[in-house]
């Protein structure tokens, strides 16, 4: 077992063990438990940093053809042969940025919670990290499903335990709706595994061993599952409620990486395993993605609550990612990958900021906020930065995914895709509209509630890396797609 394989397993195992350790700390050692949990999250970054050194060749541009899946390193241990389940982990250029993002956001959230509401939250964050990283690293379909499910209950607990006033309902909606999506994932995954006789993604990628009909059926099932998670309009309504009610760190993880499980799954599993199905369904997916972009933006124009607005903005942004995937061109898929990471960084930052604003002003209603640049200029500055990044300003991370989703749609050509590109571009303009409306309400205007301008160290700690990465990815998108041509 090479050091890289150890690292691969450690990425999943360390947070899980950390969660266990934090959970058994007695209540009076609460602070020690929280520090321990954060330390575990931080230590998990080490194997994550180690992983890219494992690659021999390039950063693999992703294609859905047989044999295209060439992991940098992998671990394959038989687990439950009766269910085609192997403990098969691997990492490549598609999954690595997301794993790194997961690790980063978890550390930031854990550190952010050091002065927060208890050790159980940190334990749950670690479980979430294990589940999400496991999903990204799974090279076995059943294992993928298993990890996909791991995050459900912890996320429910995070929302229901630390959320806002209406948290119960929101958490229930989240967990039931996403489980509803998982139903389709289960059926799809098992259909594929049963038809192909294996659940190994390396063998399955490219649609090997699946006939056309099976691919159609499986893609439909898988696409619905991932569309719920991503979420794709009109399967998105769990998202605003969950985001509005979730605590800050919950929203960050939810928007930052949890949604990415849907898009990642779409790229790796749905498109990867059932390419013929994807080809057939691409127009539908594209239309829905464009609808998500436009509808998400329009709905955002009417939102009156800060976190709800940001939540709906996710619908629009993930629409761009899905549009990129739907084109099925390499450009589109790579745009989707960058868009994934960018959205994770930007929306993560936005939710941190929304949390900071709500903590200070004790309200998230746009009507009750205002004049933030007078009362808390730095907070307003970072918020402005995040908002401008989110509306896709070139030079910042958000640009690449959105612009090149449009480019990919044009590349695909034909009346339909050109129309979709136009709609998406218009959606981009609308995105600017609602973010400017947000800024105008929150930062401009007369100062409303008295807001403390002091920004705590933990807040800087959480914001600074994200802001720096937004700029870095914006200037050098190769950070996500790989440095090599």
């Amino acid at each position: 077992m090479t050091i890289y394989q150890v690292a691969l397993v450690a990425v999943v195992l360390l947070p899980a063990v950390g969660a266990g350790v934090v959970a058994v700390f007695p209540a009076r050692l609460d602070r020690a438990a929280r520090i321990t949990g954060t330390a575990f999250a931080a230590v998990t970054l080490l194997p994550i940093i180690l992983l890219p050194f494992a690659r021999q060749a390039g950063w693999t541009a992703y294609t859905a053809s047989p044999g295209a899946l060439r992991p940098w390193t992998e671990v394959d241990v038989s687990w439950v042969p009766a269910l085609h389940l192997d403990f098969h982990l691997g990492v490549d250029g598609v999954s690595y940025p997301l794993v790194a993002l997961t690790g980063l956001l978890t550390v930031l959230c854990a550190a952010y919670s050091l002065k927060g509401p208890g050790r159980a939250l940190i334990a749950l964050l670690l479980v979430l990290e294990a589940g999400i990283a496991g999903t990204f690293l799974s090279f076995d379909l059943i294992l993928f499903f298993l990890f996909f499910e791991v995050v459900l209950l912890p996320m429910y607990a995070v929302i229901a335990g630390w959320g806002g006033d209406d948290r119960r309902r929101a958490a229930r909606k989240f967990v039931l709706y996403t489980l509803f999506g998982s139903v389709f994932l289960l059926l799809g995954v098992v259909t594929v595994a049963v038809s192909a006789g294996t659940a190994d993604l390396r063998e399955l990628t490219g649609g090997a061993g699946l006939d056309r009909t099976t691919q159609y059926a499986a893609f439909t099932l898988l696409a619905i599952a991932f569309a719920v998670k991503a979420p794709l309009w009109p399967l998105h309504t769990w998202l605003p409620d969950a985001h509005t009610q979730a605590p800050t760190v919950g929203s960050v993880i939810l928007a930052g990486v949890l949604l990415k499980m849907g898009t990642y799954g779409l790229i790796r599993v749905a498109v990867g395993v059932t390419p013929q199905g994807a080809e057939k369904a691409a127009p539908v997916l594209g239309i829905l993605a464009a609808a998500a972009i436009v509808a998400g933006s329009l709905i955002c124009l009417r939102q009156t609550e800060l976190k709800r607005l940001i939540a709906y903005s996710s619908v629009g942004h993930m629409g761009f990612v899905l549009l990129g995937i739907a084109t099925l061109t390499t450009t589109g898929l790579q745009a989707a990958l960058i868009g994934n990471v960018a959205h994770g960084l930007i929306t993560g930052l936005l939710f941190f900021l929304a949390g900071a604003i709500k903590d200070r002003a004790h309200t998230g209603e746009l009507a009750d906020l205002g004049g933030l640049r007078e009362t808390a200029p730095r907070l307003a500055g970072v918020l402005g930065f995040a908002a401008i990044a989110s509306l896709g300003l070139p030079g910042l991370a958000g640009f690449w995914g959105e612009a090149f989703a449009v480019v990919a749609a044009i590349q695909r050509g034909g009346g339909l895709w050109t129309t979709l590109a136009v709609l998406a571009a218009i959606g981009g303009a609308l995105t600017a509209a609602y973010f400017l409306r947000l800024l105008r309400r929150v930062t401009h205007g007369p100062a409303a509630a008295p807001v403390s301008p002091v920004i705590a160290g933990r807040e800087w700690l959480a914001w600074a890396p994200l802001a720096a990465l937004i700029l870095a990815v914006g200037l050098a998108p190769a950070l996500v797609t790989g440095a090599l041509p």
């Binding site: 687990w79 439950v80 009766a82 269910l83 209950l153 429910y156 119960r168 139903v183 059926l187 049963v194």
Partner: protein
């Protein structure tokens, strides 16, 4: 007629189980309570050991002349079932110890009945013909009628008729179901002349309708045992009225017995349509009604009805569905036992399950018990961290899709969503913060601690919780062990 040669070795599990019953009876006559309990525990363990020693590959015994059809057939499934029955018996005994100590039931009788029931369960697993099967099922069930109603009230304690009502409900409906099952077996016999399971075949020709009706009645009669909808009305009332440990036994061992009996039938006779209808009805109605339950045991009862639906879905496949159904049943009984064990631990000895609201905040007061219950609920819902439950669901769905029953797999999976709704509600309640009271209270947590004292957990109950949880975790991480044992 020559004397049959009997392979006593393969009968060892039966001897052990039946011997346990006799031993318990004797011990009750001559020794104190401790010895009785010890005898039953030892007997249970002995039965499990015997079943493992005999294994699943020995030839059958009590065979009809001409070879082939035997009445006692060791099989991997039978061995696993015997071990599970023994384990459940010991577990339920552990759960009953606090209330037995309190004297709510006569120890000797209680233990004897439990041992008898275990014997019946073992017989069902090994049964090779319809007679043995039905006798086994009856042996499993008959003592339970009594156990359900076996409740002594201390002087001064408020006398409740609930156990007696539960007992009579269970008894009457169960007896009717037995009659129906027997009628089915008789009609089938009349049309095909087959009693040995190996000789059961689908009928053709003019008597086929009679045989079909027989099979249907047989399946319906046995479906009573697993509380399949629409033959389920007894279950919630009975669980609710029965003492908690007995309810645990009803929803685990008794259900497992029903599953085994059904599996024996549907594996050989075609009852796919009927079983599929039963499955869909059972899981849907079970889950829907469970949504509205406000009492813990009723919630568990309805949820276990729904779970039976998933098992029936696998059984609708016929022979290929037996192994998945059995696997599911084993995962299920382990998780269900945890759930009941935690409920017993959280309630005062001899109390009933109580309303759900009584569990508010229990997970914060007793973190370990709370964690176990969450593990059980998550598993029953089919989600991690209850990996055992997840694998159970995957097993069933895998089998259904593999055998072109995708639609049924879809129904199963969708029902899991409804199921999660109430499991998650119950789990969340465990960690809910204290309810606001009308009067101003400085610290609601203190008030809650005062009004909801943390009850001491009996060592036996704790041991059951720990053991069952460990088994669930182990099965979660190594489900292949079970699949290997069943295959």
């Amino acid at each position: 007629m020559t004397a049959q040669s009997v392979d006593h070795v393969s009968l060892l599990p039966l001897y052990a189980a039946a011997g346990t019953a006799v031993l318990v009876l004797l011990a009750d006559l001559f020794f104190g309570r401790r010895v009785v309990l010890g005898a039953l525990t030892a007997g249970g363990i002995a039965t499990a050991v015997c079943a493992i020693v005999v294994g699943g590959s020995r030839a059958g015994t009590f065979c009809a002349p001409g070879g082939g059809a035997c009445s006692w057939v060791p099989s991997p499934l039978a061995a696993v079932a015997a071990v599970v029955f023994a384990g459940l018996t010991v577990g339920v005994l552990g759960l009953s110890i606090p209330s037995l100590r309190l004297g709510t039931a006569p120890t000797g009788e209680f233990c004897f009945l439990l041992a008898s029931s275990m014997t019946g369960g073992v017989v069902v697993g090994y049964a090779g013909d319809l007679i043995t099967l039905i006798v086994g099922v009856e042996t499993l069930t008959l003592p339970l009628y009594l156990l359900v109603g076996l409740r002594r009230f201390a002087p001064g304690e408020k006398v409740s008729t609930a156990p007696a009502s539960a007992s009579i409900t269970f008894f009457l409906i169960s007896v009717v179901s037995t009659a129906i099952a027997l009628l089915g077996a008789a009609l089938n016999y009349a049309a095909t002349g087959a009693l040995h399971l190996d000789r059961l075949l689908n009928a053709t020709g003019p008597f086929a309708p009679v045989a079909d009706a027989g099979v249907a009645l047989l399946v319906i009669g046995l479906a009573f045992k697993v509380a399949a909808v629409p033959l389920h009305a007894w279950a919630p009332a009975t669980y609710e009225g029965a003492p908690l440990p007995v309810a645990a036994y009803l929803s685990t061992a008794s259900k497992l017995g029903g599953v085994l009996a059904l599996a024996a039938i549907v594996a050989r006779l075609d009852a796919a349509a009927l079983t599929a209808v039963l499955a869909v009805l059972t899981m849907t109605v079970g889950n829907l009604v469970a949504l509205r339950q406000t009492r813990m045991v009723r919630l568990l009862a309805w949820s276990s009805i729904a779970q039976a639906g998933y098992i029936l879905a696998a059984l609708a496949l016929g022979a290929p569905g037996v192994a998945p159904a059995a696997a599911y049943a084993v995962f299920f009984v382990v998780l269900e036992l945890i759930a009941f064990a935690v409920v017993v631990a959280l309630r005062p000895p001899g109390a009933d399950g109580g309303p759900l609201l009584a569990y508010r905040g229990a997970g914060r007061r007793s973190p370990w018990l709370g964690a176990s219950l969450v593990l059980a609920f998550a598993g029953l819902a089919g989600l991690p961290p209850g990996l055992a439950g997840l694998f159970a669901k995957v097993t069933v769905v895998d089998a259904l899709i593999d055998n072109n029953h995708g639609w049924l797999a879809g129904v199963v999976a969708l029902n899991a969503v409804i199921g999660l709704a109430y499991y998650v509600r119950a789990s969340a309640l465990l960690y809910a913060t204290p309810e606001r009271v009308g009067i101003a209270v400085a610290d609601p947590a203190l008030l809650e601690a005062a009004t909801h004292p943390r009850l001491p957990v009996s060592r036996a109950v704790g041991a059951v919780v720990v053991a069952a949880s460990l088994v669930a975790v182990a099965l979660g991480f190594a489900p292949q062990v079970l699949f290997d044992a069943l295959g």
